[in-house]
């Protein structure tokens, strides 16, 4: 069973995430963590807009929040999110390649903490954040999904992710939620063995 779905996106992310979350059932069993690039003073409006699109419960992360099934944990503005076993920590370390929250930082921690039980998802975006982190998730035996750049509002982020993580599954936006549901029904560990390099 997978432990976490880690999602990264920037430009165009709201509409892509709305579609992704809207396709998941209320009892989706894997906690979801989202890093969406946003202004450093932006408020909880993003979470409210996402909440309107989904039956899952959307919340902005506070330090050491437990990751729970049925929840969508959104990175707050101006903090990095790091995943620990069962919960999320926040930090205000320097922005990484101009981003805080940084998708790479969150993905790296997902890879280190959850290894083969992490799923990384890269959606539309106008920079290359997330590509390195997605490669780390694969290195550690995890699963990687990338929105098909042809279906992305801005293809830069998905293209960079595909380049850095060539074995990632590339799927059109409307196929991502069904694929996550499939993955949530399978065991993660046996597949991890075939990922051995």
């Amino acid at each position: 069973m997978y432990s976490v779905v880690a999602v990264g996106t920037s430009w165009g992310g709201l509409s892509a995430m709305t579609k992704l979350l809207g396709g998941l059932p209320q009892d989706f069993p894997i906690p979801i963590v989202i890093v969406q690039h946003r202004g450093k003073d932006s408020n909880e409006l993003l979470s409210q807009l996402l909440q309107d699109s989904t039956d899952l419960t959307v919340c902005e992360i506070e330090d050491k929040d437990a990751l729970s099934p049925g929840r969508v944990h959104v990175a707050p503005a101006n903090y990095h999110v790091m995943l620990e076993p069962g919960y999320a920590s926040l930090t205000i370390e320097e922005p990484v390649r101009y981003s805080r929250p940084s998708i790479d930082v969150m993905f790296d921690s997902a890879a280190a903490t959850y290894g083969p039980t992490a799923i990384g998802v890269v959606l539309t975006g106008a920079n290359e954040d997330g590509a390195r982190g997605l490669a780390h998730i694969i290195e550690r035996g995890g699963r990687a999904l990338v929105q098909d750049p042809k279906t992305a509002e801005i293809p830069i982020m998905p293209n960079a992710a595909i380049k850095a993580a060539p074995t990632a599954e590339v799927l059109p936006l409307d196929r991502l939620a069904p694929r996550l549901i499939e993955l949530s029904r399978e065991h993660s560990k046996p597949r991890a063995r075939t990922m051995t390099v």
Binding site: M82, S89, A112, G115, P116, R140, R193, M195, V197
Partner: protein, 294 residues
């Protein structure tokens, strides 16, 4: 404490043949050994810091030194005090800003200042003050509210190097535009430029702002309470600690606060699940400003 990473393997095959690249347990052993070594040899205790963040910063140092493992870093750190110095700066996050989260300062003016005005003398403690930007911000606020002359601010940090910078009160000129914006949005009553002059290649802050400030080294992990305070400010410091250590520091804060004293945390920090949670009332949600009520 017992630390656990990732889930136990779910099938016998998985246990017998883990992916080669995935060795979190070995890495955790290495990191715990390094932190234990640092504690026993140098006395700095990072053993209860938030793990993912420590791990990331250790790897940054490893990459900058051209090393390839935590154990290789351990060899250098334990035998070369200069490497420990470097790592100490890496491990203590000193990212801060003047009037960070302007909304907090507005709320502090509206909700906390009136309380403080009822006291003849007030003591504030900035725990983990880093390079002092927030100390100067609070000094400016207190002066504008007519409270500065009866206030004493104790500004502490574990790190002597950053305290020296805080005392000097020279901040980068290139950040003054950002700080001016913050100051205005924080409800500042004057022109921000009145508080500094361009000097020594930076913005030198009005030295009278530190007339009532005591800068001192204090370690939240090992040191005890040193006075009783009306306000304790500790924003975005405890996020670097694990839950056990957070709880311990909250006991220290509770013991150091006067009855009806005010505790200020960062905007994404919480008292949830802390042993003293029920002793505080949040007085200005969503800001993390709490009042000790029992």
């Amino acid at each position: 404490m017992a630390l656990q990473i990732a889930e136990p393997p779910t099938s016998p095959q998985a246990a017998a043949e883990p992916p080669e690249a995935f060795k979190p347990d070995l890495e955790r052993i290495e990191i715990e050994l390094l932190l234990e070594g640092i504690f026993r040899h140098y006395g700095f205790d990072f053993r209860s810091y938030a793990y993912a963040s420590i791990r990331r910063r250790l790897w940054k140092r490893i990459e900058e030194e051209g090393l390839s493992s935590i154990s290789a870093l351990q060899e250098r750190v334990l035998h070369e005090p200069e490497m420990m110095e470097k790592l100490l700066l890496d491990l203590s996050i000193n990212v801060t800003a003047m009037f960070r989260d302007p909304g907090f300062y507005v709320t502090f003016r509206e909700q906390v200042v009136p309380l403080l005005k009822t006291y003849p003398f007030i003591r504030l403690w900035h725990a983990g003050c880093s390079t002092g930007e927030e100390v100067y911000s609070m000094a400016i606020l207190l002066r504008e509210e007519g409270l500065y002359d009866r206030a004493r601010i104790y500004a502490t940090d574990i790190n002597e190097v950053v305290l020296q910078r805080a005392k000097a009160g020279i901040f980068p000129l290139e950040r003054m535009q950002e700080y001016t914006d913050n100051y205005i949005r924080a409800g500042g009553k004057k022109s921000f430029s009145e508080y500094y002059t361009a000097k020594y290649g930076g913005a030198l802050f009005d030295q009278s702002l530190t007339k009532n400030v005591v800068f001192s080294q204090h370690n939240l992990v090992t040191d005890r309470s040193f006075s009783e305070f009306n306000v304790i400010l500790c924003r975005n410091v405890l996020i670097y600690f694990d839950k056990t250590l957070q709880s311990k520091v909250h006991s220290l804060f509770y013991d150091s606060l006067a009855m009806f004293g005010v505790l200020v945390l960062g905007s994404k920090e919480t008292l949830r699940f802390m042993s003293h949670e029920e002793c505080y009332q949040q007085i200005a949600a969503p800001e993390k400003i709490f009042r000790k009520v029992k």
